[in-house]
Structure formats: structure tokens, C-alpha cells
Symmetry: C2
Subunit: 342 residues, 2 copies
């Protein structure tokens, strides 16, 4: 496979347009309508608190990127059936369950600009509705009946949980290396991206090579996406606009902008990072100082550069498929993931 | 099927011995050794916190009743294979995951006489390791490869979560009826008992009638078991011995001893229950008063009587199987479940 130049919208020779999600949104719109119908139908329960709480998050304006990847991959390989609709809904349920549990774990109070479910409904109900959605996801997979899909998604779920525990262990540990960080985000974020992509090739029965190509696309995209997310938390533009909240900083989470700023810093700066990550500097002034140090060593840019590397690997992973609207949209989505600012 | 007199140990004509778990423990010992090996092997992870936390609960002296039921049912129907060992371990993982999440949900500090995992390791890790074990359970089922077993256990898991949410909704609601209470414990406790039993008939390919008989045994036993558990929390003997802690009372959980005491009480007593369940009376004196009112209306005995009813239905559900050591042990286990005092 060779590096692939993704045809962005606009005429050849134009300056490349700013990458956009619009092509993948258009590509997957019909499929996503079917997926959304499954999601709405299968989050119901006779216990009214369950759809109320699940709906709070599910209807809360998420981009449903993971099921969208399943749909896009199915388009890419020309799958004609509809089995992937239920499975894409299962993927979104697994993701929603992990978000609900994450918000409890992190004690978060805002997600997607709304109060989190744990704030509105309390931690107990949030944990339990996460469990419900997780079980429902497996019910959907069992209905589909593919043991191979079940294996991929059960395995991904275990890896996600391991990644989350690993992240918890690394929290407030200033000595966390870039390698360990990549291993954590590979598990907690990329595992579900790559499973979401791979299952499209499984239901279409396309064989190991196509499965692996989609898996590689998803994994690299997931890493790129998480790197970009972690960059935003320390982006000085975003801080000036009041869009970044410094949650990772206050939680003592070791993300790449901090790992690199610590590595590149002088003794005094390193002492600041040690204290901050240990939880002794959490004021707005401390956060501003952290953002300043990160700007000094340009580690948001360095993180974005790493993200672009993985986005390019994602694009190259599907370069072997014939050129198509789907392939172009998936490539542009990867570029979008790493160029978004907040 | 007719009512069945269970041959207890001891000579015919002897006064029936006190029911014991010993026969079912002896019956299932070889199988449980195999199950325990799977449990120990599959709770491992490269993230050290995972086996540490899981092991805290799993090695913490639980009776492993649910996997034991799978093994006992396999003995009852003469299954010769070993597929049920992995599946019984999956059942125990699902149970352990729900216990971990329950302890977080209830804010419990003691289980089986030990500090709970959430106290030792914190809520965040406890939620996440629960998720890990839940995923691992599905991985074990996928390895076995029976979609029917996957369907039964995914369905049971969703029902358990629904039951837990329903219990949360009923918490501090004095008007909870016996019917609703039975529906809650049917979901949160009995669903996994009946799945644990049923899957033995599935792997042995014994057909719908035997599946249903084992399902009925498990469901009724689960209800009996939970009723007996809920009785113990208000048993005056147990309170005198300092064995009951009144957790349900302080949490405002509506269990049958309270439901019946409220129904049978006079106006003044009903007012006490309303205040207590609403959370306004949680002192040791209040608990002592609650235990006194429950003794006055004998609702611990009434709850035990209900438990015996379901235990008898469990026994009758397997009465159609030929008499055997397994059938006798399973019957005695049902009687034991409802006769234990603390």
C-alpha cells in the first residue's frame, strides 16, 4: 500500500479545503437513520428510569462516531445487507456504557455541554444503567448471531476496561512515559474504534485482509482522535475562548502534552509538573501556568503532529481499496479528527 | 410432577436432620475445582490492579453458589462433558461484577466480613474492574461458542441490571407492594440463578422440558434465597448476636419484612415506617424499634414462610428427574437456603 492523497472537496489545484465531517455524515446518513431507530428502540425498558437516564446521554448530541464508522466501512466494502445496523447500535451502547461509567469514575459534571447523568440521576443509577446498556449490546449481538462479531466486541470490551484501569493506575504518576500513554489510549479508545470498523468486514464476509485493513484504519484513527482530544485540553486558543476546562490537569491525568512538557522542561518546570500532577496545584493560575509551559515547548503542536501521523496511517490502511466516495469521506474524517480545535 | 419428599441424610424414620449444604458441596467438589481453576486463570490481566481487586472479592470466601448450581444441574442430568466449567466461571464473573457495582451503588463498607473493594481500592477502580469481569464473562461464553448460552446469559444480565435499577427506584418508597418486591428480586437475584441452572441443560442438549425444569428450580431457589437473606436483616436472634447490621433499614430498602410490618401495623407504627424508610430514623434505637415491630407482627417468620414456599416449588420443579444423589443434594440445598439464620 502506498501513501494516498485524499481528494478533498473542491477542484484539483485548489488550496485544500478545511477537512470536514460533512462527506462522512452524508455517506452514512441513511445507515445512521436505521442505527438510530435501533438505538431508540432498544434502550427502552419497563423501568422508566432506564430510558430516561440512557436518553439523557444518547440524545445529548454525541456524534455517534463509532457506529458511523461501522456504516462507513460497510459502504467502503460495498456491503449490501443490513446486519450492521444492529451491530453498530451495539457498538454505540458499549460506548455509552463506558461513558456513563467514566463520568462516575472521574466525578465529571459536564459532558457535551450538559450536566452529566451522574449529576442529574446520581452515581448509583448511572452505574446500573451502564450495566444495562452493556448487557443490551450483547443481546443485540446475540440476535445477529455471529460468534466472530461477539468475540471481537467482547474482546474489545475487556481491553477497554483494562485500559481504563491502567489509566487510573497512571493517574498522578508524573513518570508515565509516552509509550505507556499510547498503550492506554490504544486500549481505552482505539480498541472500540477498530472493532467498530472490523465488524463491517466480518458481516460482509470479506476475509482476513480486508478485516485487518479496516481494523488498522480504526485503531490508528482512534489513537489520532484521542491524541487530538488530549491536545485540546491544553490548547491556549481554546483556553482563551473558555472552551477548554483543564479537566485532565485537575484530575492529574498524564496525557501527551504534559508528558512532553515534563520531558522538555527545566528543573524548576519539572518541579511544577510534579506538584501539579500530584494534585498540589489546581487553581486557575496553576492551570494558566501549565498552559503557558505547554505553549513554551509547543507540546500541543507536538501532540497534534503525533495525531497527524496516526491519521495518515489510518488513511494509508484503506489506500488499497478502490477510490470511492466512501474512501475519500473516511480519509477526510481522519484529517478532520486531528484538525478540530475544540 | 408431584411434591417430593427429599431424603435427608440419616436413616428413614429418624427426625429429619438440619438441612445442610454438605451434600451439594460434596457432589460438586470435583467440578468446582475445575471451575475455580478457570476463575483464577481468567481473572488475570497485565494490569496488576485488576487481579488484585478481583481477587479481593473472589478469594474473599464467597460460597460460589451460582457456579455450584451449574455443576449440580450438570450432575443431575448426567452431563459427561466439561464445557460447563468455563460457563460456570462466566456466571461467577457476572455475579462478581454485579457485587462490585452493588457495593459502589450502596456505598457498602463490609461484605462477607471483609472491607469491600470500593473501600480498599476506591469506587473508580471497583466500577472498572466490574466492567472487566463482565467482559471477561462474555469472552468465556464466546470461547464456548453456544449462541443459546450467550442469549440466556446476556438476557439474564440485562434483567439483573433492570432489577437493580428498579430496586433503586423503589428505595425509600414505603408504598412498595409485595408484588413489586417479588418482581425486583426475581430480576436482581433469581435471573442469574435460573440462567446458571438452565445452561447445564443447554450444553447437555437435553431439550426444552429439562431446560425449563432447571430454570424453574433456579428461579424459585433464587427467590427463596433472597427472601431468606432479607429476613436475616431483621431477625431478632441475629440482632441479639450482633450478626445483622440493619443495612437494608438504614438504606431505606423495601424488603418483605418491612412491607408486611407496614401493612399489618397500626397508624402510629405506619407513621414510624414512613419516617424510617424516608430516612428520618436511622439510629440504633430506631433500628431496635423496627426489629421490635417486626417481631410483634412476626414478619420475619412470614418472610421465611414465603421463602419455604418458593424452596418447595424449586424442589418440585426437579421432582420429575429420577431420584439421585444430585437431586437429593439440590433439594437439601433449597431447604438449607431458607433455614439458615445468619
Amino acid at each position: 500500500m502506498t501513501a494516498q492523497i485524499i481528494p478533498l472537496r473542491g477542484q484539483k489545484g485548489d488550496a485544500p479545503a478545511k477537512p470536514s465531517l460533512d462527506p462522512i455524515l452524508a455517506l452514512t446518513a441513511p445507515g445512521m437513520n436505521a442505527v438510530n431507530a435501533v438505538i431508540l428502540d432498544r434502550m427502552q425498558s419497563e423501568i422508566p428510569l432506564i430510558p430516561a437516564l440512557a436518553g439523557h446521554l444518547i440524545s445529548g448530541g454525541g456524534k455517534r462516531m463509532r457506529p458511523m464508522l461501522t456504516i462507513a466501512c460497510a459502504e467502503l466494502i460495498g456491503y449490501q445487507g443490513n446486519r450492521h445496523h444492529k451491530l453498530a447500535a451495539a457498538v454505540e451502547f458499549i460506548h455509552t456504557a463506558t461513558l456513563l461509567h467514566d463520568d462516575v469514575v472521574d466525578g465529571s459534571d459536564l459532558r457535551r455541554g450538559k450536566e452529566t447523568a451522574n449529576i442529574v440521576f446520581g452515581n448509583p443509577a448511572t452505574v446500573l444503567v451502564g450495566d444495562f446498556l452493556f448487557s443490551r449490546a450483547f443481546e443485540l449481538m446475540v440476535e445477529d448471531g455471529s460468534l466472530k462479531v461477539l468475540k471481537i466486541l467482547a474482546g474489545a470490551s475487556a481491553i477497554i476496561a483494562e485500559g481504563e484501569v491502567d489509566q487510573l493506575t497512571a493517574q498522578r504518576q508524573i513518570e508515565t512515559s509516552e509509550e505507556r500513554y499510547l498503550s492506554i489510549i490504544g486500549a481505552k479508545t482505539a480498541a472500540l474504534f477498530c472493532a467498530a470498523c472490523r465488524i463491517a468486514a466480518v458481516v460482509a464476509e470479506r476475509g482476513e485482509a480486508e478485516e485487518r485493513a479496516l481494523d488498522d484504519y480504526g485503531r490508528n484513527l482512534g489513537i489520532a482522535f484521542q491524541l487530538a482530544d488530549d491536545a485540546i485540553d491544553y490548547d491556549s486558543d481554546a483556553h482563551e475562548m473558555g472552551k477548554a476546562k483543564g479537566d485532565d490537569f485537575r484530575d492529574g491525568k498524564m496525557t501527551l502534552p504534559v508528558i512532553l512538557a515534563y520531558a522538555r522542561g527545566n528543573d524548576e518546570e519539572r518541579q511544577f509538573w510534579r506538584d501539579a500532577i500530584a494534585g498540589f496545584c489546581t487553581s486557575d493560575e496553576d492551570l494558566a501556568h501549565a498552559v503557558k509551559l505547554i505553549a513554551k515547548y509547543d507540546t500541543v503542536s507536538a501532540t497534534r503532529e503525533r495525531a497527524r501521523h496516526f491519521a495518515q496511517r489510518a488513511i494509508d490502511a484503506i489506500a488499497g481499496f478502490p477510490a470511492s466516495e466512501a474512501r475519500a469521506a473516511m480519509g477526510e474524517a481522519a484529517l478532520f479528527a486531528v484538525s478540530r480545535r475544540y
